[in-house]
Amino acid sequence: MSKLAHESAKFHVTGEAVYIDDILVNEQLLHGHVVYSPYAHAKIISYNIEEAENLEGVQCILSYKDIPGENQMGPVIHDELVLASDTVTFIGQAIFLIAAESEEIARNAEKLIKIKYKELKPILSIVDAIKSGVLIQPKRKIENGNLRKAFKKAANIIEGELKTGAQEQWYLETQIALVYPGEGKDLLVHSSTQHPSETQAIISEVLGIPKNEIEVQVRRMGGAFGGKETQANHTAAWASLLAHHTRRPVKIRLFRDDDQKMTGKRHRFLTYYKASFDKKGVISGLDLEQHTDAGAATDLTMAILERAMMHADNAYYIPNIRILGFAWFTNLPSNTAFRGFGGPQGMACIETIIDKIARQLKKDPAEIRRINFYRGEERSETPYGQIVEHNRLDIIDEQLMQSSKYIDRRDKIKQFNEKNEFIKRGIAITPVKFGISFTTSFLNQAGALVHVYKDGTILANHGGTEMGQGLHTKIQQITALEFGVSTERIKVNATSTAKVPNTSATAASAGTDLNGMAIKDAVLKLKNRIAIVVAEEFNKNIPKSKLESDEEDIIFVNDNIYDSENTTRKISFKDAVNLVYLNQVSLSATGFYKTPDIHFDREKGKGHPYFYYSFGMAVTEIELDTLTGFFKNLRTDILHDVGEPLNKRLDIGQIEGGYIQGQGWCTTEECKWDDKGNLLNHSPDTYKIPNIQDIPKDFRVQLLEGFPNSANTIRRSKTVAEPPLMLALSCWLAIKDAISAVGNHEIEPEYSLPATNEVILLSVDKIRKQLD
């Protein structure tokens, strides 16, 4: 069963899978259209919508004045307007909503809206934001040991800064919502959201109607990657406003360019660092200042910054450390979740530091990494106080160094580079240690609702959402395994707030961990009920000489139910279910789960925020043409820890996909803005995610075997989801290794992330000039 295909695969490949835009609608449907700000920062002096309203086919045009509830859709901090009122603070900020009979009419109406603005000065870069001094929320700090002492005693100190770029989620299906009004204030909302409960909550607040009037449903998303964790709420809230006003079904689907312009991205970071280390390269102290660009609203920025700070150590024990985190206001769309959630930005910096230490000490970075790993009890305390238990770093490192033949290949690369002036090769191994759980502890809860029908089929409902990761497949498997029945009996359908309420986002890589356990809880309840009825049934006709069946001994195996003490007593699952029904016992149960023993004190920056850690490592070798800046990923070897895998096929897919997405962030995906705050890369014409020719020519992914999760997770599995993305830092540093070869590894290359061919060529050019 750990080799089950994705539950929707046969629908995906035939075009039968239904996404929101594929739901059949009738001519009553109105097309919703968002009119947004063309200025990054401006006052709205006046506007006139009369002419647009009078255009034939326009049903309504709404401004902030038409919001019946609160004009606010910030998920954590209430600082994000649904529709701008007197000031606009970023390009792409919604000002008006149009509902029209067709998209074309809506666009024509938009042209008739007249808005007078007074332009104000925008803040667009992190450096300018720091100068402005406007933090979006108070700064954060995590501290451990005695940094001053460490620096004083240090043999070596390095200092520097690292810039990492924004990244667009680039889900294939853009943001979309379809809203059907019912009777009274009822709304049925189809939203491509990772967080139906929050989408429901935001709509409820914006419309001023209670949550029980609103049902939010999502069958599947065409990709999300964090981009639909909070920002799907916007499209859903806008469509709901229009449906509420017109009492007609309304659909809003953002056009690709609008989606890229209007929605937030992975946060840019500028990190200043100072690190001390001894002559072997063991790090004794680290002082970090992480500055990030929140955009014009808080959204999830503080949680993302928090994760960046808590992953600034990555896999390395740093006894003396101070991490300061600053989230600055900028006049850009509010940046938001993206797979890794701050982790990549935190790790990129410490990996850079290690890389620089190695170059300075003329050692292989693999060795510097190894001597700095968390190890044993002595080197196990993280900067935030959690102890790294069940550490898999050394075992993965040992196995991967061997299976990838790193040492041999490093030698061959050296020889290759000596012979070639313009083509250089590079290699790097990088680790990932990723903490699993929402750092906001109370979010670590999940619910489920399992129905068994009289024909013996099962409907498993849970609070998680399907975005391609295969959560529904894993839930189907878990339900089948726990029930002792075949997966064909089980259907996992659309996620709905009417089935499971008050859920958390499908995020933080916790979808299966949380919802799988909630499903198990529901199944256990049902099994207990069934067992009682079955035991009674077994006991009905047995002679007095025989022992009676005990409900405790009833087992569920292969679609049958037995008395484990006397396996001749058997009933099929289907017959048992019918029997339970006839006995007037409920065949429906809820399940619930909360992650045990996790806590975090934000004030002190200490706690035990993660239920467990996920580990992995990658070795990447690349070949770089130093004249064109093109690189080829020659080979990538990954060894990743997923505990006892629930589904190897899905897990390998997640690892490969995560790595390639990370490679995109590290290389060709670049977001640039002009001096007015216009995003320049707002379509795939200029925003380049990896394509089929960019992947490793030789891609070897292995799962770490023989190490079930020590934490009590569902079937001792570990999540996969986010962590593999960060394995791509090995690609980023392999490219740097090749650049470094131009200067015979004696000159520290100028480097930033993404390493576009622009960054690469300028860096190489600078080294060549120094060599002349």
């Binding site: 929707s8 996909g657 320049l680 795939p684 995610i689 089929i692 060529l761």
Partner: protein
């Protein structure tokens, strides 16, 4: 019958001939894209919009053409084709390939090997793989890469998709498209007259031969001429423009001819870039190299060399190499045909020698005389399916003393139009073709160009790229 204008287009979909009469259609216009048409139907929702600009391939469909008694399959982006371009063809969508009850071998391979995750891009991949399945016996890895370059997937990391394409290709069997008797009959029965479609605010002409096209162009000098529409379609899909008058020359066979004479290669302006790519592989390797990284297969099936030149883009991937190849552009108009050297064809930002009322009909490329070394280069952020940041077409002949003659250093992406690095060329004239001279010459590039910073790259990096390409050219033209 030939000269009579028809007002109806006909194509085959779901095993039936579909006729569309735009004068009566409410919601359809001649410039409605095939993507939007399919999405308006209840049973073709598998065709997805991911970008509406031909960059993601989620809307890939296959067009079947009946030519020389054979059916030819071509994957295209449905977002880039207007409905009249379907005329006389069979439109095949993912729903036609197979259903969840009866999967086609390419679909089965994708299920078995985990080629889908979120599934949104998957129908597009299936269609590109279906074309490969029908046209290639056992595809090589390069053929698979090439066939799927036009499809983006954000979930899988592609490895599983490549494996699926390999598996489907390795054990090929007959499929329900192998027996196409009925379809051939239907396609053979569709008229081949000139077509004129008009709707509120729009007239769309689809002439069936060159003469009719030239007449129309002279009669309607303001009309927009489209061949593959891969560029013009963006004005509709992205700018939501109404193009009032269109002349579609995309199905004129006379303009698609490719031939060789003793002195020249002659490429019809309407030949698809995919066919030019195949033709140039051995004959014009520098052009082939550029076309191999031009768009994607879906785009190259539609796009034409004439169209690429006609758009006179400042980057125009093919222009630098065509200048270096000393191509000659044949332009036809009222006064017959005239020939313009490629080096003089582009006159400014999106401006060329081809005037209103004229049509580019052929590109003639002289066979290189002995010893001419011609190379093309393209630097882009992503190697494939990306527009050049800097492109180049270089030509040199080296005499016995290793001194360059006939030197041409042509750059795209460095100025408002494709330009030669005149000062650099001058500097090198009479100098020995060695590294020292090339290094000195590359410093002249800054005097030749003053590039801009944009979404693709900064000005400083463009300068470094231009210099580096000269060095690369030198390394490739110098025996080790």
């Amino acid at each position: 019958m030939k000269n009579k204008n028809s007002h109806i287009i006909s194509f085959v979909l779901d095993g039936e001939v579909v006729d569309i009469d735009f004068s009566g259609a409410q919601s359809l216009r001649p410039t409605t894209t095939v993507l939007n048409y399919l999405r308006s139907l209840p049973n073709h929702k598998g065709c997805k919009e991911g970008c509406a600009e031909g960059d993601c391939g989620a809307c890939t469909v296959v067009l079947a053409k009946y030519e020389q008694k054979k059916i030819r399959y071509q994957a295209v982006d449905a977002c880039l084709i207007f409905l009249p371009m379907l005329h006389g063809k069979q439109l095949i969508t993912v729903e036609n390939v197979g259903s969840s009850h009866k999967l086609h071998p390419v679909q089965e391979a994708m299920v078995d090997l985990d080629g889908s995750q979120c599934g949104f891009c998957t129908p597009g991949f299936i269609m590109a793989m279906f074309e490969l399945y029908k046209n290639t016996s056992i595809p090589t890895n390069d053929q698979i890469d090439d066939a799927l370059t036009g499809n983006l997937c954000r979930c899988t990391g592609y490895r599983s998709i490549i494996d699926a394409a390999q598996r489907a290709g390795a054990k090929k069997a007959r499929d329900h498209f192998s027996q196409q008797k009925e379809i051939k009959k239907m396609l053979g029965g569709i008229h081949t007259n000139n077509i004129q479609l008009s709707n509120k605010n729009q007239v769309y002409h689809k002439p069936c031969d060159k003469q009719s096209a030239l007449k129309l162009i002279q009669r309607h000098p303001k009309a927009t001429i489209v061949a593959g529409a891969t560029d013009i379609a963006l004005r509709v899909t992205k700018n939501h423009e109404n193009i009032p008058e269109i002349i579609d020359i995309g199905d004129i066979e006379e303009l698609k001819k490719i031939s060789s004479s003793k002195s020249h290669y002659k490429i019809g302006a309407g030949a698809s870039l995919e066919s030019v790519k195949a033709f140039s592989k051995v004959r014009l390797p520098a052009l082939h190299k550029m076309l191999a990284v031009f768009g994607s297969k879906q785009i190259r099936h539609l796009a034409t060399l004439g169209g690429n030149l006609g758009s006179a883009s400042p980057i125009g991937d093919t222009t630098p190499v065509l200048i270096a190849l000393k191509a000659i552009i044949v332009i036809e108009g009222k006064n017959g045909a005239r020939k313009v050297p490629m080096s003089k064809f582009i006159t400014g930002y999106r401006k060329s020698q081809c005037k209103a009322g004229e049509l580019i009909t052929e590109i003639q490329i002289p066979r290189a005389r002995n010893g001419a070394l011609i190379r093309s280069y393209k630097i882009s952020k992503r190697k494939d399916l990306d527009i050049a940041t800097v492109s180049a077409g270089f030509r040199v002949c080296l005499d016995k003393s290793n001194i360059p003659t006939d030197l041409m250093l042509v750059y795209g992406g460095m100025a408002e139009m494709t330009k030669r690095a005149v000062k650099t060329e001058e500097f090198l004239s009479g100098k020995v073709w060695n590294r020292k001279m090339i290094e000195q010459a590359s410093n002249m590039i800054s005097a030749d160009f003053n590039p801009i910073s944009d979404a693709r790259s900064g000005a400083r990096a463009r300068e470094v790229m231009a210099k580096n390409l000269l060095m690369k050219f030198w390394t490739e033209t110098t025996k080790a």
